[in-house]
Amino acid sequence: MIDVPAFVNALTFNAGYNTAIVAMGAILLGWAGGTVGTFLLLRQRSLVSDALSHATLPGVGLAFLVMAWFGGTGRFLPGLLLGAAISAMTGLACVEWLTRRTRLNADAAIGAVLSAFFGFGVVLLTVIQSLGIGQQAGIGSFLLGSTSGMLRNEAVTLAVLALIVALLVFYFRRPLTLVCFDEIFARTSGIDIRRADLLLMFLVMAVTVTGLRVVGLILVVALLIIPPVAARFWTDKTTTMIFASGLIGAVSGFAGTALSASVPNLPAGPVIVLVAALLFVISLLFAPARGIFYGLYRARAFSRKVHRRQGLLAILRGEAIYDSDTIKVLKADHYIRADGTPTRTGLAAADNAAREEALWTVYLHDNPDAAYRAARMRLDPIAERLTSDEIAELEKHFAGPPSVSGKAGTGFAIR
């Protein structure tokens, strides 16, 4: 299966000049796709890139035919990419036009454009095949990409293109961020929304066209969609998310090309996508900010806190506890014995719980707008959430000797 020395060589850029250049290109491409994709995701237009990438095919075919017509080889990469870019922009214009000028929704417009353009592209591909011009082999690789048959100057072209896109994203990150979050504020700060959107689409197009030869037009959207969705699990901050997404993309590109170089019959494009998918699954499960396991852990911790607090208050009121979860939590903390009677520490904790509840009640009375936050905060020890000055201020409400008649023996009423 996997050839370990070859894999290590590929990872350390020692598997030959071409492989190293392709790997550099894939890293830069992954970075560019991840960062551009973040804006696309935040603008909720991820699948527009699907229409864009499928719409490149007729351009590639036409460019090939035109170049072959003029006696060229037809396989000249910059020419093919230019054709791809032009027809991608045409496809994008069609999507925009359909959603703006007709009643069709964006999803229908995207689906219609991608399938019709792709169909036309397939027609052109079969035309090229039956014309029997030589060197048509390079054309098929635009569908699923390939790195094995790549010429040196092609690899260099792609690496340079990816670098330019990565730099452009870095340069324009601020206006793009603003447009994603607050259109009105962006407009008042002097940013032309339409131009920013156009710029974003131009960058998406650039990533797509650069990725065509490596990843293929069907899968290149994955570079724009998977890394940002994965990055979203790790953070709520835009700048961090852009960075994380670029990193996930770059790692996918790197590991994908290295794996592909060291295992026979393993095309780079799909492997890059699968590495990204793996990183996505890891993020979905384990990321601290929004991952599933951390979410479950937090939910469990919160429910334990609720059971503990309610159980302690019940002990204080001398009520019997029936809820098995509550009993389990209280027993684990040694607040009650096996027969359900409270221990000494349990009574003390109950006393303290009543005190904290009372303090929080006063706090909320004084700060009603903190109610939402306090719903979770009030289950933690109050000293962790409020400063000692604040607590002292709250305790003044309970000054004076504890009265036997009105309030409970602790001096703090349970309201």
Partner: protein, 304 residues
């Protein structure tokens, strides 16, 4: 009638038309429910389904292929819902993550398994090979009434008839529930219509049709047929039944004109070769949509 015509032109055209009509009928509801891209996702994941079915069953026979593809379609629908709900990701992005990952998995499995040595490749999966679905026995005189010759019909024809029938029966029996849950899901829920069941049934039918159509005409034309005719029909009228009728008409015109243009049309233009019929059908359906977007009476809908 020329017998060659029946076997070499009429049968593939009929297959294309059946696939187009079955897709177009369902496409109307996908578009109205803003789920057009589910068709896109489902047709992409058919590939890994077929590859896995081949690896598991070890044969290229049809049964496992259909089961594998349908299972993959349903699993992908499930995964999309899962990613959407667990990750709180917007539906478009969730779809993009799932179908690209599964498609990549399909390609890798295809390259790594024995499948690549057999007559099956990704290109074939993408744009089918409608031209090869000919009825050779039909080129003899009187074949239409000869049971032996009829048994030689491409099996895809029968399967497409079956799935078109399934679509028609679904529309017939669940018409009211489907319509009300499409236009007003909340009201439908209040009426006691099983909204979720209807939605799942619709996606399953799309999967079944996508699988049978995919086998005959490839994934891309399946997407085109699910979306383009129905989208064009949506621009023609405000009423649902006329919209269905328009979409069927557009689907038929795309299939017939596309197949003709790919073969005879190219010959008329003086070129000695023919081009991909599936690609041409998709392109024609796109042209029909473009014409409707420019000139159809209801192209602006309520906005006009």
């Amino acid at each position: 009638m020329d017998e060659l015509y029946v076997g070499l032109v009429l049968v593939p055209t009929l297959i294309g038309a059946l696939a187009a009509v079955a897709c177009a009928l369902l496409g109307n509801f996908l578009i109205l429910r803003k789920q057009s891209l589910m068709g896109d996702a489902v047709s992409h994941v058919v590939l890994p389904g077929i590859v896995v079915a081949f690896i598991v069953s070890g044969s290229m026979s049809v049964g496992p292929m259909l089961i594998g593809a349908a299972a993959a379609a349903l699993i992908s629908a499930l995964l999309i819902e899962l990613v959407r709900n667990l990750g709180k990701v917007e539906p478009g992005a969730a779809m993009g993550v799932v179908f690209t990952s599964l498609f990549a998995l399909g390609v890798v499995l295809l390259e790594q398994s024995e499948t690549r040595n057999i007559h099956f490749d990704v290109q074939h999966a993408l744009y089918g090979n409608l031209e090869s679905l000919v009825w050779l026995a039909g080129t003899q005189a009187g074949a239409l009434f000869d049971p032996e010759a009829l048994a030689d019909l491409p099996p895809q024809l029968g399967r497409l008839v079956f799935s078109l029938l399934a679509v028609c029966l679904f529309l017939l029996f669940f018409w009211r529930q489907l319509v009300v849950s499409t236009f007003d899901p909340v009201f439908a829920q209040a009426l006691g219509v099983p909204v979720r069941f209807i939605g799942a049934a619709l996606i399953s039918l799309v999967a079944i049709v996508a699988v049978t159509a995919f086998e005959a005409v490839g994934a891309i034309i399946t997407i085109a047929m699910l979306i383009c005719p129905a989208a064009a029909a949506r621009l023609m009228t405000n009423r649902l039944i006329p919209q269905l009728a328009w979409s069927v008409l557009f689907a038929l015109v795309s299939a017939v004109a596309g197949f003709w243009a790919a073969g005879s049309g190219m010959a008329l233009l003086g070129s000695g070769f023919s081009v991909s019929a599936a690609g041409m059908i998709a392109a024609v359906s796109g042209i029909i949509l473009a014409i409707c977007a420019i000139a159809a009476p209801q192209r602006m809908g309520a906005r006009s």
